[in-house]
Amino acid sequence: MQATTRTRSDFSRHISQKWWIYLLLTVFGALLTLPLFWLVSSSLKTEGQIFVVPPDWIPNPVRWSNYSDVFRRIPWGRGWLNSTIVTVMATLGQVVSASLVAFGFARLRFPGRDGLFMVLIATVMIPYHVTLIPSYVLFRELGWLDTFLPLIVPSWFGGSAFYIFLMRQFYMRLSFELDDAARVDGAGTWRIFTDVVLPQSKPVLGVVAIFSFLAHWTDFFGPFIYLNSTEKYTLPLMLRLFQSVESTEWAMLMAASLMTAIPCIVLYFVAQRYFIQGVVFTGLKG
């Protein structure tokens, strides 16, 4: 009994000292979540409710069918398939190639290694638009325009140098003792990579997989440049199909936008630990 009263008075002291923090958190939080609230609310409105002045906050009636209408109005199911293929294949390539290359840089000695690593770091700084036009010309020559290949293949050849850097930093910190023990047991370099180093590297593999997944799932620029036919569009491109010169179908557009965000939000909640870790890696070790 006494314990509870003490906790309660502790709690009220906590509140009376920190009330302004809660106030600021609430104000900032409200400002940031207001657009999300509006996204959800608009996605459930009828066409008539969308065009009400001043806008209604809560849809009434709630029109769930906006979500299924999206599939009827545009090839949305196809978009999910396309986005899934591109994202999975590109992420897989990114994880595989970055872990191989990072292993080479972190655990093996060869002439020119440090110089090449400096080149790698320098390429992180190169803006995508500098390589855009020649890459487009290259993919055009190869007959890859309007296919998923320009969005997938570069990931299998190192992809974003930043991920290689991230993995290399992680591998560097692993001890060499297990490597040496495996070598004494007759393991070759490949075995050491697959059986010794990779199993210890789950955190960094997770981080790269998640961030690469998000980058490819949300990518607009690549698909926008390389894909022409509607049935090949990924989800971010498909969103533009609701915009036309005369009018925009706002309710369906908001429903579709929210659906596009759902895998990212789910991934965040499933892998929150990796997320925070990733931000720490990228933020402080970068």
Partner: protein, 308 residues
């Protein structure tokens, strides 16, 4: 056993050579990618910038004609100006705001995990989806922003349709994503050793003194990192103006990459677009280098203590 004893040198050499070969094999995917998807295109891009190239016919040598034209192109300078204003306003604003939010997040309050998730949530919305949402938010007649303003008796501007407000609208939208930088700051704040704060408290310093003498100096490497990220991202803005304004009204949101895109893929002036790409590349490079150079005057690294 016998062999190693007789010629340890050869075996050692073999071992080194095997390791080197393995090393090159492991990094070979990146080497190929570097040549085909990065270095090759960079060189080609510079070559294209010295030609007239319309994609259907081979490039024709033009010398510095594209760069000549660039210098006299009012629209290019307009685009440079728009992009620069955007960067100069949105980057510091984002840095300060996300720092403040991170300070809040670092307070000892109940349910902080909930707040962190809430503040990060906007960053989980894909760029295009978020852009569509804000397009709708900014709708002058039916959008939420002017709806709220109206309740307070204020007649809101036309936002994206107004020459004056279109660029500020994009800056406001960008601030919605402060959560990303906040999380990076937060990781940094949590890495500050507690005993540093104790020293200030012993000297009788309050919260303000702690912020000025400990927190901000300790955070300068993270601020620097966020600054570089912000600069590079700011100069490459493309999707937002493309989707929301198409560069208008009256070129008020014509960002450089958008102008580059229009030249390359609407007018098929690949040579000229490559010149724009290189000009922007040089601008980003120079600014990044200057920022790095300046960093030694204000960024504080752990090693500095040892040196003093």
């Amino acid at each position: 056993m016998d062999r190693t004893e007789r010629s340890p040198g050869v075996s050692w050499l073999n071992h080194r050579r095997m390791e080197a070969i393995a090393g090159y094999l492991f990094i070979s995917p990146w080497i190929i990618g570097l040549l085909v998807f990065t270095l090759g295109p960079i060189v080609a891009s510079f070559y294209f910038s010295l030609t007239h190239y319309q994609l259907v016919k081979p490039p024709v040598w033009a010398g510095l004609a594209n760069y000549d034209r660039l210098i006299q192109d009012d629209l290019f300078w307009r685009a440079m100006k728009v992009t620069t204003i955007y960067v100069v306003v949105s980057v510091p604003l984002g840095l300060v705001l996300s720092f403040l939010v991170a300070l809040l997040m670092n307070q000892d309050v109940k349910g902080i995990g909930f707040w962190r998730t809430l503040f990060y949530l906007p960053n989980l919305v894909p760029l295009v989806a978020g852009t569509m949402l804000w397009l709708w938010m900014f709708n002058p007649r039916f959008g939420l922003i002017n709806g709220i303003l109206e309740r307070f008796g204020v007649e809101g501007p036309l936002w994206l349709q107004s020459q004056q407000w279109a660029l500020p609208s994009l800056i406001i939208m960008n601030l919605w994503g402060v959560g990303g930088a906040t999380l990076i700051y937060l990781a940094g704040l949590q890495g500050i050793p507690k005993d540093l704060y104790d020293a200030v408290s012993v000297d009788g310093g309050g919260a303000w003194a702690r912020l000025i003498t400990i927190t901000i100096p300790q955070m300068t490497p993270v601020i620097f990192y966020n600054l570089i990220l912000g600069l590079i991202a700011g100069f490459q803005v493309f999707a937002q103006p493309l989707i929301m304004t198409g560069g208008g009204p009256r070129y008020s949101t014509l960002f450089v990459v958008l102008y580059l895109y229009q030249n390359a893929f609407s007018n098929f002036r690949m040579g000229y677009a490559s010149a724009i790409a290189w000009a922007l590349f040089v601008v980003i490079l120079v600014l990044t280098l200057i920022t790095f150079r300046m960093s030694r005057y204000w960024v504080y690294y752990e090693g500095d203590i040892a040196r003093r």
